[in-house]
Amino acid sequence: MATTLSLEHPTAHTRRGGQAAARLLPAALACLLVAWLAVFIAYPALAVLLRSLSTKVGGFTLAHYQSFFAKGYFLRSLLNTLILGATVTGLCLSLGFAVAYLVARGPRPLRLPLRVLTLAPLIAPPYLFGLALIILAGRRGVLAQLLDMRIPLYGWLGVILSQVLSLLPVAFLMIENVLASLDPSIEDSACDLGADEPTLLRTVILPLASPGLLKAGLLTFGLSIADFGNPALLGGGLSFLAPDAYLMVTGEWNMEMASVLSVILLVPTLGIFLVQHYWLKGKTYTTVGGHATAAEPRGIGGGLLTALLTPSLVFGALVVGSYGVIALGAVTKLVGIDNTPTMQHFASMAGFDAIWTSFQVSLTAGLAAAMVGTGLAYLCMRTEVRLRGLLELTTLIGFALPGTVMGIGYILAFNSPPLYLTGTLAILILNMIARFLAVGLEAGVSKLYQIDVGIEEASADLGAGLLTTFRRITLPLMSSAFAAGFLFTFMQSMISLSAAIFLVAPGNLLASVYIFNRARDGDMGIACATSLLLILSLAACLAGLAVLARRTGIRMSAAHT
């Protein structure tokens, strides 16, 4: 380490002062960051836990949990949530595997279009597909009218379909990563030994990919049960934990019960995340070594191709259809019923204002989260601050907690002095940073594993102080981690709903909340128009960032997420 090394130069008398500073600075920074994490992640999370255990006057009680388990209604809600998570996970994994396999091994001309189609849902708010499905396949949607039938969309069908549409990209990205790490020559060997395609899949590829599939499955499950928008829009009479917690707060101001629901929702989510992070860490089979392999992946045969391609194309058609009806909904009076072209839905300025507010919040949160995240990574990896486990765990908790929990936690924690933040833009920004900080940290940590400490030591030996070394050496090397942290936080802040919906205030309305409220009121035209604007601005932002990245040579990889 830089500091230990410089101790071996007692001759450099004048650098003593600098040395003390070099020790103090990281320690001071670390204290500051630990305090920040404690206030903005641990405190709200604990506030939820404590509230679920307290009586109205502040005493300890388990009564709220008793009433949760005594009331059939809440148990039903828990059961629904788990069934939903399992179904959506199963569908996302099979479909994600099909698409990823096609993208990795399928016919060349299909690969790029399929990949783009599968990733396309990433730039839309997660509940956008709920909205699109209502227009597309609702009781009088475009499809229902074409086929002259009524599709029972409100209920299981709608919630499952919309969640699969919005969560597939996540599963796909992880599975694609796994498949990319499998050496095609192993498959060739299997084929040479006489295995046909299904045997190959069953005995070679699936076993090798299974740890990765498990990880993808756990993440999808966690995201599904935490999702708030789609079940709220399409659930009909069905109850699910995340929207129920929202109703408990906004409908009844029953913070105790809302906290109980949050804690119950949090148990599987947090469990999954910790299992994934600590138990599954490193459990992947990588058959691609550092050396180049000559083999180009084999093509796949007719029968299997059809079997994989059909569901992928259905999915692709739904994605295209969804974006299509959103665009149509934005420029027609009432798509499917009165298709007169109109620009009236763009007339109100509120949508523009909301997108601008979202942009301000997301940009600030993205930059701050990337800076703090990579800074934390540096402190953990390169200084004598021995808090890595705790710091990582805290940021991971912030990341893993369902947005609903973090939203409720923030109301509980910051609605009274000394930290009265209700109604400010700051509370939205802080909330986003706290929730997505982990990505920058993880990217930074994995990057710093790859950078040889020697480079930094050389810099220190040449007389550079800690700060100079950080700025001149480490920082440029960490730019891709910074970019990953920024990109993820920015994108998520632009589209996430579940925490923000508790924290918006007059004049501080975010686009995702505005669109959701409009959709819930049934104002489909304005919801579509604002969604379209949001998606277009996000696409423009991404394009801008890609240009910036190419100019500066920073790698921006979605693989970090």
């Binding site: 209604y73 039903r76 629904n80 609702g138 009781r139 009088r140 709220a232 009909g236 009479g237 069905l238 109850s239 109703l247 707060v249 906004t250 409908g251 009844e252 101001w253 913070m255 009076k333 009432l334 019923i337 009165d338 109100s348 300025m349 509120a350 301000q360 940009l363 600030t364 930059l367 701050a368 990337a370 800076m371 109301i411 609605n415 009274s416 009265y420 209700t422 109604g423 833009l425 920004i429 700025r471 001149r472 920082l475 440029p476 730019s479 920024f486 918006v504 205030a505 007059p506 004049g507 309305l509 409220n517 819930r520 009121d521 049934g522 104002d523 489909m524 500066t552 040579g553 920073i554």
Partner: protein
């Protein structure tokens, strides 16, 4: 690499500019409102006519009241512009409003629209009406029901949509109306029978209109606030006021006690009593305090005998009973 290091400082500058941002204007008024369909027109109209900058957050009735309860005594709004009389009464009992009895524009308005201590004013009433989808009714050869009791006919099974009182103020008004019209026992009995035909309870009081307008369900019990607008836009809807009469709800405006913008808030409340504002409000279908000409109803519709006080006193009891009876699996 130098280029990269230089880039590093750029985001910090952006961060500072964006993060600090412009400070809120001195005459900015923060508003909570449940007049969702007109919230944007409202902020614009208020800002243009009073010189204050109005910023509104639209919340459904239940959400609005929950938020006020949560945030007191630090309520995040200066004015509540448009909320339920029942909750206004509860708020007055808790001392949440700053009284402004001397508002000049309200002097000549009927006492029914004013709290006797000036704690709040009633802009005018909204009703709930029965809406139907014209196309679907014609296709199935059905007629718009003329009485609320017609809704109990099994032919409407799965075809009626109405809001849930857990989140919607309109829904609470609907429930309280049936209870006041028929009495506690008979009222719940009616709603239980009605429940057998209800396909969905929506979160917002305006959502049933949209479901019916899109032709997803044939009939809806909905707030009248958006009906004129939708009719004008050519939605295939019919509306009626069933013969037993309509339930109604005031749209209260009250100044939040402790606001830092008391003068600006008074300006807004006073303006709400002027003829200019009342005429503007009436065009959306509100039956205003000044009884301005109303494009939707023409003459005043038959209203049920409805007591805000009774509704306020039984608020929690009604919602609890509703939940035990109708909250679905």
């Amino acid at each position: 690499m130098k280029k990269l290091a230089r880039l590093w400082w750029l985001p910090i500058c952006v961060l500072l500019v964006v993060g600090i941002g412009p400070a809120p204007a001195a005459d900015e008024i923060r508003i909570y409102t449940y007049m969702l369909p007109i919230q944007e027109d409202l902020t614009k109209f208020l800002s243009e006519n009073t010189g204050v900058q109005a910023k509104a957050l639209g919340l459904s009735g239940g959400e609005l009241w929950a938020r006020v309860q949560a945030e007191k005594p630090n309520i995040g709004a200066d004015i509540i512009f448009g909320f339920a009389p029942g909750t206004a009464i509860l708020g007055k009992r808790e001392g949440l409003w700053a009284a402004y009895p001397e508002a000049p524009a309200w002097k000549d308005i009927h006492a029914r629209y004013k709290d006797k201590d000036g704690a709040y004013y009633d802009l005018g009433t909204s009703c709930f009406v029965l809406v139907g989808n014209k196309d679907l009714l014609a296709k199935k050869n059905l007629k718009m029901p003329a009485s609320w009791f017609d809704l109990l006919d099994p032919k409407w099974k799965g075809e009626i949509v109405m809001p849930s009182p857990v989140t919607s103020g309109t829904a609470f008004m609907i429930n309280a109306t049936f209870l006041q019209l028929l009495g506690w026992e008979k009222g719940w009995d009616f709603m239980e029978k009605l429940d057998k035909n209800v396909a969905q309870y929506t979160r917002s009081g305006n959502a049933p209109l949209e479901h019916v307008g899109r032709g997803e369900y044939i009939l809806g019990l909905t707030s009248d606030e958006k009906v004129p607008q939708r009719l004008q836009q050519g939605f295939p809807i019919l509306w009626t006021a069933p013969k037993e009469g309509l339930g109604y709800e005031g749209n209260i405006v009250a100044i939040v006690k402790g606001t830092k913008q008391l003068e600006a808030a008074k300006k807004v409340v006073n303006f709400a009593g002027t003829e200019k504002f009342q005429r503007w409000l009436a065009q959306f279908g509100y039956l205003t305090a000044r009884d301005e000409p109303n494009p939707m109803y023409g003459s005043k519709p038959k209203l049920v005998d409805y007591s805000y006080e009774w509704a306020a006193d039984n608020h929690a009891r009604i919602i609890e009973t509703w939940k035990t009876k109708f909250l679905r699996k």
